[in-house]
Symmetry: C2
Subunit: 408 residues, 2 copies
């Protein structure tokens, strides 16, 4: 008897009819002899509706009370999904994050899961019930409701799967799997059958929207196999699994891109130890994620430091960096919001030299100038002019022959 966690996002539970479809799928899995846990988000639009009410009342909302407010959205979903399962003749029981119980730290709005005590869930499964869990929410040590931040329902599902040692965590979505790149950019983008956690992690953090980075990390840590699949049909989706012998032999698995990138260069920074840390410390304090960081060779004891942040945080980053730059006696800051990051990802790169060279050559042949480069074991990212994003993605997808199924 397998244990299956099924996660459905807001669109999949957006109307009563869709909720009935979700319930039908859970009931099918239950009748096929599985122990079934369904994790759901708030109905699409609901979280925004609630935040809009809060926005009409408070300009600087209190995070603790915002969590109380928005977590009501998943409460509605679990009640309705459980009702729909019961209506199909299978006893179902809903669980709030506080009832499971999913314990988190105190960081309201972006809490981290500390522990899951799933005993009551196990008891319900033992009784033959379908369990319906509210995604996105937990409870801190004091019993206050917390929420897990963007994409938190994925994380709830993976964490439930880990706690229950589930055989699979199925992530239902409006696409039918993970693609070699965005099919809206490259028409012959191919669905990937199997991908490793490491690759998925890179793709997720590089801008692929299907899975949230933290949930992939969590799945990797606890070795929870993920199955990303369509909520509209029964077709196989993409499996995200631990790395193993004999997997897809491709050197490059996918091409990711992120237009929400901005580049800052601090000019004429004194080349003494600790300067870059001084420069970036206030950004980290302010919660601004700094991505690619490059430091030029120093000339006459001065150097240029370039880094990227998300476009939406560029203004704040410039303001914060300016304060430090002034203090350090740097000569100025240049910011460019019109850049993008294009990356190739593949576990096979580890053993295959030449991928970086191939990437740079193909971009060069297409007259795409590379502004910054950043590499890891299994990915290479280039910062380029934003207007060449789609061109670069198409060129690389074609160059690495990602439209073709990899050799077995």
């Amino acid at each position: 008897m397998a244990t299956i966690v099924q996660k459905f996002g807001g669109t999949s539970v957006g109307t009563p009819e869709r909720i009935q479809r979700v319930a039908a799928r859970a009931v099918r899995a239950h009748r096929a002899g599985n122990r079934v846990v369904v994790v759901v988000s708030a109905m699409s639009g609901e979280t925004n509706r609630l935040l809009s009410l809060a926005g009409q009342i408070s300009q600087a909302p209190h995070h603790r009370e915002i969590d109380v407010l928005v977590s009501s959205g998943e409460q509605v979903s679990i009640g309705l999904v459980a009702l729909a399962c019961c209506e199909l003749g299978v006893e179902a029981r809903s669980f709030l994050g506080s009832q499971v119980r999913i314990t988190t730290d105190d960081a309201h709005g972006m809490a981290r899961i500390r522990d899951i005590d799933a005993d009551s869930v196990v008891a319900a499964l033992d009784r033959g019930e379908i369990v319906v869990v509210a995604g996105f929410q937990g409870v801190n040590e004091d019993g206050q409701i917390t929420t897990l931040g963007r994409g938190g329902s994925d994380l709830s599902a993976v964490a439930m799967a880990a706690a229950l040692k589930a055989d699979v965590c199925e992530i239902y979505t409006d696409v039918d799997g993970i693609y070699t790149t965005d099919p809206r950019v490259v028409a012959d983008a191919r669905k990937i059958d199997r991908i490793t956690f490491h690759e998925m992690l890179e793709l997720a953090s590089l801008g692929a929207k299907v899975l949230q980075t933290r949930s992939v990390e969590f799945a990797m840590k606890y070795e929870v196999p993920l199955h990303v699949r369509s909520s509209f049909d029964e077709s196989e989706g993409s499996w995200v699994v631990p790395e193993e012998e004999g997997m897809e032999g491709a050197v490059v698995t996918g091409v990711a891109f992120d237009r929400n990138t901005a580049k800052l260069t601090v000019l004429g920074v004194p080349d003494v130890p600790g300067t870059v840390a001084d420069l970036l410390f206030p950004l980290g304090e302010a919660g601004i994620n700094v991505d690619v960081i490059i430091q030029n060779t120093a000339i006459d004891g001065r150097t240029d430091v370039t880094f990227t942040v998300s476009q939406t945080e560029m203004e704040r980053a410039v303001a914060l960096a300016q304060v430090v730059a002034n203090r350090l006696g740097a000569s100025g800051i240049v910011a460019d919001a019109h850049v993008a990051k294009v990356s190739v990802v593949g576990a096979g790169m580890r053993s295959e030299a030449g991928v970086a060279v191939a990437m740079f050559r193909h971009l060069g042949q297409a007259n795409v100038n590379i502004q910054l480069i950043s590499t890891s074991e299994i990915k290479i990212s280039c910062i380029i002019d934003e207007k060449f994003t789609e061109l670069a993605v198409r060129v690389l997808h074609e160059a690495f022959r990602l439209h073709e199924a990899p050799a077995a």
Copy 2:
């Protein structure tokens, strides 16, 4: 330092602006040096919206999951009210029923409060915070969410006031107090300054809509003074208090009426002990409330039994009574949906004979025929033809001079 519980219904928190008004009132009371607990219902329309979603999914909804669903409504309200208080500069903290904690029995949809452990609320008040509690909801011993049924938020407020030994429980409403009768029927109906729990209890159960019967019972039991007042202004409302010397000297305090009344007569019932119990038992089992019950003098070993139920339950009551009537060999059932109950209520009746006679005489002079009579220590009810309801109320209001303030 006084402890004040303020209860606001769905209309009072129906929009962000109204929520800001609720918060402003709580903050004023807090700044005046009081310990303030706010109890709120779901925003008006929200509970119906949620039930409508459930209705689209399930025809015979599961009570436990319905409670999970609808209790999200108050969760939204407490989050927003707490945010609004914080925005006005006073730290406020929301509490769900499960967080307070308000423990109930297992009767989902109409649970009864068993216990309130208000330690965490007291701790928050001690820290100088405004406490915002979700009305209408509790939690059973297993940690499942329960709801208290119709008007449950009043009950939550009174129960919180009792648990905290509050100085007053203020019930905010869209009228400015309790009236001698419905002002829509009698233009010179007068606002009552002080009324006893017993009188209020009779009025509430006789059809006055301002307070729910169970909450008045609870307030009486724990001697929680209630102050029913307008959410739109600062005027004094009506106080509901324990009986005491020197209270308003009126014999009759108010006139109540209930058009939602139907009369059933079972004809030719064998006059043997236990017959009426046999007849009414299945109605009680089905949750149908039987109000006035009259049994005629028996003739030839047979009698007629007449009783009233709410109009909305008449058909079910007839069907259930018919089964027993057949078994008992009764000769038939006559039902009349077009009756109403008109009642006069007053604690002074205890010591004042002649109120009943005066009531009957005034109705008779107005040509209103009395079909059934039911009395208690402090009220007299008459069942009359529904079309005479307003006439009867006006005649009695005038006859007992309720438009005049009672002698001090």
